[in-house]
Symmetry: C3
Subunit: 262 residues, 3 copies
C-alpha cells in the first residue's frame, strides 16, 4: 500500500476530467478539490478531445445519462484510451436497471477502462453473475464477493473495486481488502461517485492502476472512519461537511494510524 501517493497527489494537483452524473456532480468536484486534485467537468462533445488533452485522468460516471450523453461518454472513453489517460468507470445502477447494463456493456466494447468501481450489485451485473440489486443500492446476495470482483476484473481485463463495508480491490490476480470505513458512506448519495473520481486522481500519479485503486480506497475509507471517530454525533448532513474538511486536512500519518487492510 503506497500511502505516500497522497502526498504526491497534493503536490502534483492532477487534473481529473469527469463526466459526472447530475445528482452528485458538485460533491465530486468539491471532493477532488478538497483532497488536492483539480476537477474539470464538461458535457459538450466538441471540447472532449481538448478536455482529455489537458486532463491527467478521466472518470466516467454512467449514472443518469441520456442518449446524447452516451455518445459523449463513448467519445471521451475512446479519447482517453488513444491519449493514454487513466480511465475510471462508475457503472451506476447497472445492477438494477437492464437498460443501463446493456448500455454499459456496449460502451465497454468500445473502450478499455483501467479501473471499474461499483457496489456488489453493479460489479456482479458486469460479471454476468446473478445478484439482487435494489435501485442505486447494493442490494443483497450470498455470492462470494471476492470471486465476483475477480470474475469482473478477469472478464474486462482491468482493476475492479467492489465497494461495501469491506472494499475489495483486484486486478484479477492480486487482491486486497480494505476494512476501514463507516456506514455513513451509504447514507450520503455522492460517496461512491466521489470515491470513483478520487481513484482517477490517484491513477493520474501512479501508473499501476491496482496500486492506485487500493490506495485511493484506503485513503477515502480511513478518512471517513476518522471523521466518525472524531465526531460520534455526525449524521447524514454533517458527515459530508466533515468529510470534505478531512479530505483536505488528514495526513498520511493520520491514515496509517487506523489503516486496516489485508
Amino acid at each position: 500500500m503506497k500511502l505516500s501517493l497522497l502526498n504526491e497527489l497534493r503536490v502534483q494537483n492532477p487534473i481529473v476530467f469527469n463526466i459526472s452524473n447530475f445528482v452528485t456532480v458538485q460533491d465530486v468536484a468539491n471532493g477532488l478539490n478538497a483532497l488536492g486534485a483539480s476537477p474539470i467537468m464538461s458535457e459538450e462533445v466538441a471540447e472532449a478531445a481538448e478536455m482529455v488533452g489537458i486532463a491527467n485522468a478521466v472518470c466516467l460516471n454512467l449514472g443518469a445519462f441520456t442518449e446524447r450523453q452516451i455518445e459523449q461518454i463513448q467519445t471521451v472513453g475512446q479519447l482517453a484510451n488513444e491519449q493514454h489517460r487513466p480511465l475510471v468507470i462508475d457503472p451506476v445502477a447497472v445492477g438494477a436497471v437492464t437498460y443501463r447494463k446493456h448500455v454499459a456493456n456496449h460502451l465497454l466494447e468500445t473502450f478499455h477502462p483501467d479501473v471499474i468501481r461499483g457496489n456488489a450489485g453493479e460489479i456482479a451485473a458486469l460479471a454476468d453473475i446473478t445478484w439482487a440489486a435494489k435501485g442505486i443500492d447494493a442490494g443483497s446476495g450470498d455470492g462470494d464477493l471476492v470471486a465476483i470482483a475477480q470474475a469482473c476484473a478477469q472478464k474486462l481485463s482491468c482493476t475492479v473495486i467492489l465497494s461495501g463495508p469491506t472494499d475489495i480491490i483486484t486486478d484479477g490476480t492480486r487482491t486486497v481488502k480494505v476494512m476501514n470505513g463507516t456506514p455513513l458512506f451509504q447514507v450520503h448519495v455522492g460517496s461512491g461517485d466521489m470515491l470513483s473520481s478520487i481513484v482517477g486522481a490517484f491513477c493520474a500519479i501512479e501508473p499501476d492502476a491496482f496500486e492506485a485503486a487500493q490506495t485511493a480506497c484506503l485513503v477515502f475509507a480511513a478518512i471517513g472512519q476518522l471523521v466518525v471517530e472524531a465526531n460520534p454525533d455526525v449524521a447524514a448532513g454533517s458527515f459530508i461537511v466533515k468529510l470534505l474538511d478531512a479530505l483536505q486536512t488528514t495526513t498520511v500519518t493520520d491514515i496509517e494510524a487506523v489503516a486496516a487492510f489485508e
Copy 2:
C-alpha cells in the same frame, strides 16, 4: 395523523423515482436517503418504464425543464398511472412564468397526480385564481388559502399541499393544517423540492394519499422546527446540514412532542 408511518417508511425503505430539477437534485436525493427512503433519478426516456417498474412512488418536479424533458415527464407520469404508482407533482414557478403554467396544464391533461405540492402562487395558478407570485417564491395575495387549496384539489381531483408558514393539506373535502415549521425553510432553495419527494416516499407506504401527504408535511415541518429549537444560531447554510442530520435521527416521539395541526 398517522405518525407511525415514519417508522414503517424506515423499515420498508421505499424507492422513489424522481425527475428532479437540476438545481436541487442532490438535496432531494440526500433528503430521501437521510429519512430512510431510497432515491433514484433518471433523465433518459428509454429507461423510464423500467425505472417506474422498480419504483414504489414517482415524483415529478416541473422546475427548470427543457422541451425534451417535458416529453419524458409526460411519459413517466403516464407510466406511473398505468403501473399504479403513487404520483406526486411539484409545479415549480407555474405562478410566475406563463410558459410553465401552460406546460403544467397540458401535462395534467395527460396524467393524473395523486398529490400536487406547491406554494400559494403555484397552487393558485393551477386553480386559475389570481395571485401575485414572485419568481420561485410564493408571492403575496389576499385570497383565502384554504379555499384556494380546496379549489385546486377539486379541479384536479387529487390531494393538494399548499406549503407556507402553515401547510394546508386537502383532498377537496377533508382539510388539515400543519402549523409546525421554521422560516429557514424559505431561505434554503431545495426545501420544497425535498418535501415533495418525501411526500412521494410516504405515498409509497400509505395508499390514502391525503393521509400520506399530511403525515409527510408534519414530519418535515416538525423536524425543521426541532432543528431550529435545538440550534438557535442556525442560518442558511447550517440549517440544511442539520436538517439532513435530523431527517435521519428524529423519532416519532420527538415529533409528537411538538406536533401542531388541526
Copy 3:
C-alpha cells in the same frame, strides 16, 4: 464604495435569472437566497423572454455548456440587452480550453455584458494576453494583473472583475482593488460562480456597474474573511456552510470593520 447597497439589496430582494453551470448551480441559488436576493434558473429557450422579463438582473455562466445551451445563452444575453437588464458573464475555463474561448468570443459579439468576472487566466484569455491557465484554476503568469483587467475592460467596454487573492475591479478607467478574502475560496468549487451571481444582484439595485461590482466583491470577500477569522478551523466542507450562514447574517457594520480596498 457603497456598502449601504447591501441593506438595499436585502430590502428589494431582486430576482436574478441565472444560466448556471450544472456543477455549482445549487450553491449559486443558495448563495443568492442567503444574501437576500431571489434566484431563478432555467434551461429552456421557450421561456427565456419571460424569465428575462421578470428578472432584475441576468447572470450567464459559460462553464460546462452544450451546443444547445450556447443558443440559449446567446438568446438570453440578447434579451437582457434589449430589455435593459444588467448582464454579468462568468467565462469559466476560457483560459484553459480553446473551444470555450472561441465560443465566448463569438457570444460577446452578439451581446454586450455590463460585467465580466473571471480569474486571471480567464480575463487574460478574453483580453488576448498570453497566460498559463490550468483547468478551471487561474494558473500563473507574470503579467501585470491590473493592466490585464484594464485591457479586457477597454476591449469589451464593460466592467471587469479579475478575481484572486486581491480582486481587481475596473471599467477601463476607474480601478479598485479589494484585498479582503481567504484562500478557502479557492478550495470550494462554487465560490467564483456564487460571486458572479451576487454581482448580478448588486447590479440589479445600482445602475453604475462599476460601483455595483466593487461593492459585491468587497461584501463577498469580507464575509469570507470574517468566516475564517471567527472559525479558524474551517476547511473545504465547513467553509461553504458557514459562508452561506454569514451571507445571511453579516451586517454592513461587520464588513466595514474589516474592509480593505484602495
